[in-house]
Symmetry: C2
Subunit: 141 residues, 2 copies
């Protein structure tokens, strides 16, 4: 919940908006916005703020010790589930009806209220399945 709208925050939001479907690290963002005069600390501080605001979510790390974030600024993102391909890293937005069924059923059977915007399914996406059938085995990525 920032009080001022700074140039840095705008650039940042802009970049995130344009890359909603890939998990990003602070350094990646820094590199990508290198020409726009944003210091690393400003990035970290804005990331922290956005995390609090709920428009940025941490993801599981990918082997390095960097924390990756995924942008979910769109209000719609709080209404459907997401899935991230563990092969190409892309995030997809699931409007599949089964999603809602699952959420409802889990609530009913287990009393567990699923937080859609915090939940991400991991697996292998259509493109990667096609490109590399071996990956299709799933489960032990």
């Amino acid at each position: 919940m920032p009080k001022y709208s700074t140039k840095q925050r705008k650039v940042l939001l802009d970049y995130l908006t344009q890359h909603p479907d890939e998990p990003l690290s602070a350094r990646q963002i820094a590199d990508a916005t290198a020409g726009d005069g944003i210091s690393l600390s400003a990035i970290y501080r804005n990331i922290a703020a956005m995390e609090t605001e709920g428009i940025l979510r941490p993801c599981v790390r990918d082997g390095s010790r960097e924390v990756l974030y995924r942008f979910c600024g769109a209000a719609a993102c709080h209404e459907h589930l997401h899935m991230t391909c563990s092969h190409c890293g892309k995030t997809y937005h699931m409007d599949v009806p089964a999603t809602q069924t699952l959420v409802d059923q889990v609530a009913e059977d287990a009393g567990f209220r699923v937080d859609r915007s915090a939940t991400v399914l991991y697996g292998v996406c259509r493109d990667c399945c096609a490109a590399d059938p071996k990956t299709t085995e799933g489960d032990n990525v």
Copy 2:
């Protein structure tokens, strides 16, 4: 894929087996097994090995910059989905049939092969819902 079965690894596996339902950090494990003579480095190295073996999975961090791990040594864990309560941190194993429906449907509609053992649903569990109704609002945990 360790070649030798050391005392340290046994203690570690033992501890993990007894705490399958909570995300653990290297330090937590170190503290818990303090009396058993395992060095922090041995823990980190074993964690790395187990991650490779696929019996330990990284989870999203909880605010600190520690990486948390969740044990999924049981073969059964590769066949059902999991859900972690963002309130109490406990992990539940979901044998709800809707789970399978979801996985199948997503595969069919989006061509996305869900990796059950890597996927975790986040939300608020029954107990926490009951204990603290406010949390029930969900979605912006």
